[in-house]
C-alpha cells in the first residue's frame, strides 16, 4: 500500500539513493556481579580439585583397578539389559494401557485405571521384594480349568482339570522377578505419559481423519500416535534414566549380578568402600550420558515436520539475502 510509484524492492536490499546508515556504537552495560561470582566459583572449584587429589580416601588407583573387573562388567551388562528390556515392554504396556484408558469402553477403562493405580501406588523396592517372593504363594504354576477343586468332585470326577504345571522356582528366577517388577511398574508410568501425549494432539486431527472415513484404530495408528510421540519422547528419556537408576533396587530380590551391588561388594570385601561408591557414580554418569545422546537423536527424528519447515524458511531467507 505504498504511495510512491517506484517498483517494489526485494526485501533485504538497501533503498537506492539513500546512504547506508552508520551502525550503532555504544558502551555496553557492565555487569561487575558476574565477575565476582565467577571468581568465587573459581576458588571453590580449586578447593574441590585440591581435595580430590590430596584426600587419600579417594584412592584413585584402587578404584581404577576394581572398576572394570569381570563381576562389575557383568553387573553393567545386567543393568543395561534390564533397563532396555523393561523400558521396551514398559512403553508397549504404556501404549496399550493409555489406549484402553481413552477407548471409551468402560471395561477397558476400568482395567487400565486399576493397573496404573496399583503399580504407581506401590514403591518399586516393595514390588521387587514381592515379586522375588511370589514363590511363597504358589510352589507350582499350573494351567487348567478354573475352580476345578470345587466342581470336579461335585460332578463326581476324581483328580483335577489341570493340564501341565511348572515349578515356580524354575520360572520365577531372580532376573524374571526383577524384569516383571520393573517392566510392570514402568508400564504404569508410561501409560500416563502416553495418555498425556495422545490428549495433546488437536481434536481437529481426529475429526479430519474420521471425515476421510478412517476407523478408530487407523486414526490412532496413523494420525494421533505419531503426533503424540513428539510429546511422549522427552519424558520417556527421563523415565529411561530413572529406570536405569532403579535397577539398583533389584538387589533386594535378590538379583545380585546388578552393577551397584557388585561395586559395593568389592568395597565391603576390601574395607575400601568410598572409591567404589565413586566408581558407581561414574558408571551411572557414563551410562546416563550415553542415553541422553540417544534421546537427542530420537527427539530430532520426531520433529521432522518442524525442522524441515525451519530449514525451508532459512533457505528462503538466505536466498533473499543473497
Amino acid at each position: 500500500m505504498s504511495t510512491t510509484t517506484e517498483p517494489p524492492r526485494p526485501p533485504g536490499e538497501p533503498v537506492p539513493g539513500r546512504p547506508e546508515p552508520e551502525p550503532i556504537k555504544a558502551v555496553p552495560v557492565r555487569y561487575p556481579g558476574r565477575w565476582i561470582v565467577a571468581a568465587i566459583l573459581l576458588v571453590l572449584a580449586g578447593m574441590l580439585v585440591n581435595m580430590l587429589v590430596t584426600n587419600d580416601a579417594f584412592d584413585w588407583p584402587f578404584m581404577l583397578d576394581n572398576m572394570f573387573t569381570e563381576p562389575v562388567l557383568v553387573g553393567v551388562r545386567t543393568t543395561l539389559i534390564l533397563t532396555v528390556l523393561c523400558m521396551a515392554i514398559g512403553i508397549l504396556l504404556g501404549i496399550i494401557a493409555a489406549v484402553m484408558r481413552l477407548s471409551g469402553n468402560p471395561i477397558l477403562v476400568a482395567m487400565a485405571w486399576l493397573y496404573t493405580w496399583f503399580f504407581r501406588a506401590v514403591p518399586r523396592l516393595v514390588l521387587c521384594v514381592v515379586f522375588g517372593n511370589l514363590g511363597i504363594l504358589y510352589s507350582h504354576l499350573e494351567f487348567g480349568l478354573p475352580f476345578d477343586n470345587y466342581w470336579m468332585p461335585w460332578l463326581g470326577f476324581d483328580g483335577d482339570a489341570r493340564f501341565f504345571s511348572v515349578p515356580m522356582n524354575d520360572l520365577l528366577t531372580a532376573f524374571m522377578a526383577a524384569f516383571l517388577a520393573l517392566a510392570l511398574s514402568e508400564g504404569a508410568y508410561m501409560a500416563e505419559i502416553v495418555r498425556a501425549g495422545l490428549l495433546s494432539v488437536d481434536k481437529g486431527q481426529t475429526e479430519a481423519a474420521q471425515a476421510l472415513g478412517m476407523s478408530r484404530g487407523k486414526v490412532l495408528r496413523r494420525i494421533t500416535l505419531p503426533q503424540a510421540l513428539r510429546v511422549i519422547v522427552p519424558p520417556s528419556g527421563n523415565e529411561t534414566i530413572a529406570l536405569l537408576k532403579d535397577t539398583s533396587l533389584v538387589s533386594a530380590i535378590p538379583l545380585t549380578t546388578e552393577l551397584f551391588f557388585q561395586l559395593q561388594a568389592v568395597g565391603n570385601r576390601t574395607f575400601n568402600l568410598f572409591p567404589m561408591l565413586v566408581a558407581a557414580c561414574l558408571w551411572y554418569l557414563a551410562i546416563t550420558s550415553l542415553l541422553m545422546v540417544g534421546q537427542y537423536f530420537l527427539e530430532r527424528s520426531f520433529t521432522k515436520g518442524d525442522r524441515q519447515a525451519q530449514t525451508g524458511v532459512k533457505a528462503m531467507q538466505s536466498k533473499a539475502g543473497a
Binding site: A211, L212, G213, S215, K218, I223, Q227, D306, A309
Partner: protein, 270 residues
C-alpha cells in the same frame, strides 16, 4: 417415526432415482441444555451448491458436522445419498451403526475445515494419499499419480514434497480440498473454509471451489463470503438460532430478504 412419510426415503432406498443428495428432516441437536439446532429441514440436490450463512452461534457449523455424523443428532433424520446417516432403520426401529459402518458412510463425503487440519507429520503428498491407501486400499503408485493430478488441479503440483507448516494458509486449504477429493466424494462439505485466511489468500481458495462447483460437485458450504454465495450458490440458506429462517436463490435472498432477521444480518455483512 411415521411409517407413511412418503416424501422421505427409508434407509437404503434406490439412490439413483432420487436426485436429492442430502435430506435433513427436523434435525435437532442439543449440547446439555443448549439447543443448537431446533428443527432443520433441508434438501440439497445432486450437483447443486448450497451456501449456508448466518450469525455465529446460529448452528450452521453444527449442522454441517451432523451431515457426516461427526455430531450425533438428538432428534430427526438425515439421509446422504439415500442412506440414513449413523443408523439402520428396520420396522420403525433405529439401530445404531457400528463405528466402522459410520466410517464407511463417511467415505463418500469430503469435508474441508476452517483450520485446514492437515496432518503435520506427513508431506503434502502423504496427506493426499493417506486415505486412499489406508482406507480404500488403493495401490500406492496409483494413489500417488492421482494425488499429483489433484494437486496440479488446485495449483500446488510443485509443493507435493513440502510439509504443511511450510505452506501459506491458502495453500494449506487447497491441499485440504485435494485431500478430500482424493476419496472421490459425491458430496463436499465446507466449514467456513476461508475464515482463517488472510484476506489476500481467500481468492485462491474460492477459485478452487468455484471450479469444483462448475464441474458439477454437490457442495454444502458454510461461509461468510456473500460474493461467492451469490455467484456460485444455487441456494442460499439463512440460519439463526438453530432454525432455517429463509432460503431461496441467492440473488433473491440477498437483494430482497423477506424476513426481518435476514435483513438485519445482511445489513451488517454486506
Amino acid at each position: 417415526m411415521s411409517e407413511n412419510a412418503s416424501t422421505v426415503p427409508d434407509d437404503h432406498v434406490t439412490a439413483t432415482t432420487d436426485d436429492r443428495m442430502v435430506v435433513a428432516e427436523n434435525v435437532h441437536k442439543t449440547f446439555g441444555r443448549l439447543r443448537v439446532l431446533r428443527g432443520i429441514d433441508l434438501e440439497v440436490h445432486r450437483g447443486d451448491v448450497m451456501c449456508v450463512v448466518g450469525p455465529s452461534g446460529s448452528g450452521k457449523s453444527t449442522f454441517l458436522r451432523c451431515v457426516n455424523h461427526l455430531e450425533k443428532l438428538t432428534a430427526g433424520r438425515l439421509w446422504v445419498n439415500g442412506e440414513l446417516m449413523g443408523y439402520r432403520q428396520r420396522r420403525g426401529k433405529l439401530y445404531e451403526l457400528h463405528e466402522t459402518q459410520v466410517a464407511a458412510q463417511r467415505r463418500g463425503i469430503g469435508m474441508v475445515f476452517q483450520n485446514f487440519n492437515l496432518f503435520p507429520h506427513m508431506s503434502v503428498l502423504g496427506n493426499v494419499i493417506e486415505a486412499p491407501v489406508q482406507v480404500k486400499r488403493e495401490r500406492r503408485q496409483e494413489a500417488r499419480e492421482r494425488a499429483l493430478a489433484l494437486l496440479d488441479r488446485v495449483g500446488l503440483a510443485d509443493k507435493s514434497a513440502s510439509y504443511p507448516r511450510q505452506l501459506s494458509g491458502g495453500q494449506q486449504q487447497r491441499v485440504a480440498i485435494a485431500r478430500a477429493l482424493a476419496m472421490r466424494p459425491e458430496l463436499m462439505l465446507f466449514d467456513e473454509p476461508t475464515s482463517a485466511l488472510d484476506p489476500e489468500l481467500v481468492g485462491e481458495v474460492l477459485d478452487v471451489m468455484r471450479d469444483l462447483a462448475r464441474e458439477g460437485m454437490t457442495m454444502l458450504v458454510v461461509t461468510h463470503e456473500m460474493g461467492f454465495a451469490r455467484e456460485v450458490g444455487d441456494t442460499l440458506v439463512f440460519m439463526d438460532e438453530g432454525v432455517v429462517v429463509e432460503s431461496g436463490p441467492p440473488r433473491e435472498v440477498l437483494t430482497n430478504p423477506r424476513h426481518e432477521r435476514t435483513q438485519a444480518f445482511l445489513s451488517k455483512v454486506l
